[in-house]
Symmetry: C2
Subunit: 340 residues, 2 copies
């Protein structure tokens, strides 16, 4: 048996009510609150079917119904009406973000903004190095055998690394190094640099080869291997809303997962441009986050993506609202980046 329109309507009503009240919803309450135009008994029949199909379930016999992950999925995929942001929210974004002075500032403001608007845990990934281009490389002399390598990318990220040299180096050599490195690498996407760095070493005259090799290895590490993705997190206190009812009794596993950068990156990574992804319950493949959902979106200037951001909350969350907010914030940040 397929699901006719009314059954879908019933599912939507169940999701909406449950999200709001946090309590299993019964047939009587449903017809009272929504104008379904049918009697509770009819709704009960529909519910039986929805349960059969796996979209809702009863916590125990003779309790109301609760949506399953599959139910939320269906709700998100087919029943969500796009909910435009309220003017108040638009203004909040504006007010919150205006005056950001640098990348760190932008990221921090964004993550707090997201947490505040959605009242959930927010995660923002710094613009990914691998998707950025080198704007400038700077070498600063620390001592005769130590340089500091500073890389500035077009997305505003600044990475620094210490380089230990095999032999002392003079100022002139540093000049030369700096010039050559910049000539070769400035403007290049980081993904394209390894080959160029290799060439750089080969083109170096033998007497300076040692120094260059050293620098090159640090460069590679900084540019590619390390490719360390940075993250900002905010709003963990929001996990405690709704008692400890969500997250089956303990926040522990969730908090643990939130401490693992690798996990967070997985949650908000690999996004399609211009879309907002929703991972419901164990769709995220992470045991600790069985009862959590993640709404995430890529951001970047134009239609490119340089990083991801998103929020995490209980599966029982306000999907339409959250999706709208995440999307709006992602777009805003992208535009902000485009201005630089």
């Amino acid at each position: 048996m397929s699901l006719d329109d009314r059954k879908l309507e019933v599912l939507r009503a169940i999701v909406e009510d449950y999200v709001e009240t946090q309590e299993p919803v019964g047939s009587k309450a449903l017809v009272d609150r929504h104008k379904l135009g049918v009697s509770p008994a009819t709704v009960r029949n529909d519910m039986a079917v929805l349960e059969e199909e796996g979209y809702i379930r009863q916590p125990h016999t003779s309790a109301g119904r609760v949506p399953t992950d599959a139910g939320y999925r269906l709700f998100v995929d087919r029943l969500t009406k796009i909910k435009p942001l309220s003017p108040a929210e638009r203004r909040a974004i504006e007010r919150f973000m205006v005056g950001a002075v640098d990348l760190d500032d932008v990221v921090h403001r964004t993550v707090r903004l997201l947490a505040q608007l959605t009242r959930q845990v927010a995660v923002v990934q710094y613009p990914s190095l691998s998707r950025s281009a080198v704007r400038h490389l700077e070498l600063v002399t620390i001592s005769t055998t130590r340089l500091m390598l500073v890389m500035i990318t077009d997305t505003g990220r600044v990475e620094q690394r210490l380089v230990e040299l095999p032999a002392p180096i003079g100022d002139g050599d540093v000049w030369d190094l700096r010039r050559r490195v910049n000539e070769k690498l400035a403007g290049q996407r980081l993904a394209d640099t390894p080959a160029l760095v290799q060439k750089l070493v080969e083109e170096t005259d033998p007497e300076r080869r040692g120094t260059m090799t050293c620098l090159a290895s640090v460069l590679l590490e900084t540019l590619v291997e390390r490719s360390e993705e940075r993250l900002a997190l905010a709003g963990t206190a929001n996990l405690t809303r709704g008692g400890v009812l969500d997250f089956q009794g303990t926040l522990r596993p969730v908090l643990e997962a939130l401490e693992e950068e690798v996990i967070l990156l997985k949650l908000i990574g690999d996004l399609e441009p211009r879309t907002t992804r929703v991972l419901i319950g164990d769709e995220n493949q992470i045991d600790n986050l069985r009862s959590a959902s993640v709404v995430s979106s890529g951001y970047g200037p134009g239609t490119t993506i340089v990083g991801g951001l998103g929020v995490l909350g209980p599966t029982r969350m306000d999907y339409p609202g959250t999706i709208a907010t995440v999307r709006a914030v992602a777009r805003y940040v992208g535009d902000l980046l485009a201005q630089n």
Copy 2:
């Protein structure tokens, strides 16, 4: 009536047992577990006195005793035997920290290490800008009217800011600016720089005054006003150990407090060199952290302090162990910094 030795011994026993079991401790259990050499009845009398004096209390009539904040305070001040780190812990520190590549790395490793060793929430402050000295200032041309200012300090911090110029600038001018700024500021403590920056502007010839003024204001902001203290946090999941029994039922206020940088800075700031500070219960003056204690210590090369670090946990915590760990880690990080 003053407290004789045995009463202090009883207090110590109560604290130790309570910390371990998380349950109010009674007179019978005390004499069983500790060789006090007296009967439960005697211990009861001592307890009555200790309660009178405010060092312990009963959750309810006819329950065992629990230490009060004052009790913990006395315990920490007079009863704590210095507990040396186990070789395993020493090795853990070594193993954890070796191979750190830059400041970010050091800070992140440190905070995770602390969280892991103490099994509590750890906080590490980045070396404070105001206590650092300028090593080098770099100006990178972004466009003809935009420079990026990069400051590198002797503690390894790298700060960057965008400078919007009032008029286009040529490469030669950038060279000149860079040279003059470095001549004036390199090697100076950040605290001493504002006057120097002022002088720098005054010494500039009129036609370049506008540009320099612009740069100077950003400099001041970066060097002093912003003086943004950065923090790293780890181990929030440890808050859930011991159920939600600590922290009177909800983690909410604690998690909220942990999100406020200002609060965290207050907790681990203003430290004396070479000491470890313990704030018990509401000694920390923060409502949300009534039932939390903070053990913190300053770190830096030698006996100087460039930043603070510490851990936060329930008032019912293992003070001797925590103090020893925090102190050891602080010293280790200080030594690490001294090497650069």
